[in-house]
Symmetry: C2
Subunit: 243 residues, 2 copies
């Protein structure tokens, strides 16, 4: 009678995928060193040896966990930058647009729950301060092209600001973003539950506002202050403004 009814169901992923999913979640929750092979295979309902069979070694598994997601993210980052450059006649883009594209894409990825976004982004944000040299080098290598292009775009967008200054601000923005993404439910040093319950939309709006405010802040007078004694307020200097 009843032919096969097309019901929406979630087929069990193959072992390789189950291992990647489990590893991703555990790495995000407990870090690389603290996550053992046995935790991973147990969570993935796979045999202990299957990790080494499918990935070779733990380090290769870590690489693959990142590679699976990062490729698409950097690709979209670069695509958005391409689009911005196409849309401008002079090749110069408004700084705010650049920042929105770069960091906004990270938030977008974090919001994309369907692709395991939240879990991965927590992992990613945390990994930015990861001590493990192997992980650091891998991340840097994987991200280098996108970062360099956005950096150069910002240099062109802010001709009046020194590259050194711009890199510093990028550094600060990266820190704020990583912390915002990673720390949503991790360490909440501020002890507030408000932070925990945050959807991607409001996080995006708040973070962008903060980042652009920081980017547009008056340039500091470097070298004139003395940190060790009473710190002086950085005097306002001229700064480029963008729409």
């Amino acid at each position: 009678m009843a032919a096969s009814i097309p019901v929406e169901y979630a087929p069990v992923p193959d072992t390789r995928t189950r291992i990647l999913d489990a590893a991703e979640a555990l790495f995000a929750a407990r870090g690389f060193e603290a996550t053992t092979m046995r935790m991973i295979t147990s969570a993935a309902q796979a045999n202990l040896a299957s990790v080494n069979y499918h990935f070779g070694a733990k380090e290769s598994l870590i690489e693959e966990v990142f590679r699976r997601r990062l490729g698409a993210i950097t690709a979209r980052m670069l695509a958005r930058l391409d689009e911005l450059e196409r849309a401008s006649d002079s090749g110069v883009i408004r700084p705010s647009k650049i920042v929105e594209a770069f960091f906004g894409e990270a938030i977008c990825a974090a919001a994309d729950e369907a692709r395991g976004g939240k879990v991965f982004m927590r992992l990613f944000g945390r990994t930015l301060t990861e001590p493990n040299e192997f992980v650091r080098n891998f991340l840097k290598r994987e991200y280098a092209i996108a970062v360099e292009r956005y950096k150069q775009a910002l240099f062109r967008a802010l001709p009046g600001v020194s590259p050194e200054e711009i890199v510093w601000r990028l550094h600060f923005m990266l820190g704020a973003t990583a912390h915002a993404i990673a720390g949503a439910d991790a360490l909440n040093l501020l002890g507030d539950e408000m932070i925990a319950a945050a959807d991607a939309d409001t996080l995006y709006a708040r973070l962008m506002s903060f980042l652009l405010g920081g980017l547009r802040a008056p340039l500091p007078l470097t070298g004139a202050n003395n940190v060790s004694s009473a710190p002086a307020t950085p005097k306002a200097a001229s700064s480029k403004r963008d729409g």
Copy 2:
């Protein structure tokens, strides 16, 4: 003939101190899990069993590494806030002063090389995203009083801004600061050597400028944007400004 000549020399610290110093440096460089007892005792030129003799267990050693520095730092943070509150008649302090006191004190501590500042602060900055639950809880407990007082001061200083909004901005500022302190020579995702060679003075000036810019940024219109599609620029709203 020659009586004992009073020469400036560095006496070898006792085993307990040597262990704490070595552990601090190793934790900062490699993380808690990746640092073994044997690494610590080897660097401290002490016997393996001496860690357990002096501290009991590894977790207790971690606690003591933090306790040794954090007490003085939070004390100075609270003292500066006291001073600010005494100096104001109304009890309301300028937001910039609050931010300068809170985050500036962290930079000051980082600059205080004599007390092992740089090493500890790198450790501290990294620990803000530390997965280890034990470490997280300990840090939160140790820092709770200072954080709460500064938070309340900011609430009073910005009566026009919702507490939720302020906590978010604090969150972002904390991320930027932690990354700036910890990441000076750690992961340099931006691939720039400029970042590495930074003295505390210029770091302070640049960070403060950025943080205050972010704090003063126009409030975002939350809930109106749609992250998933093309993200919209947060529209400017009114915001309190401080001198």
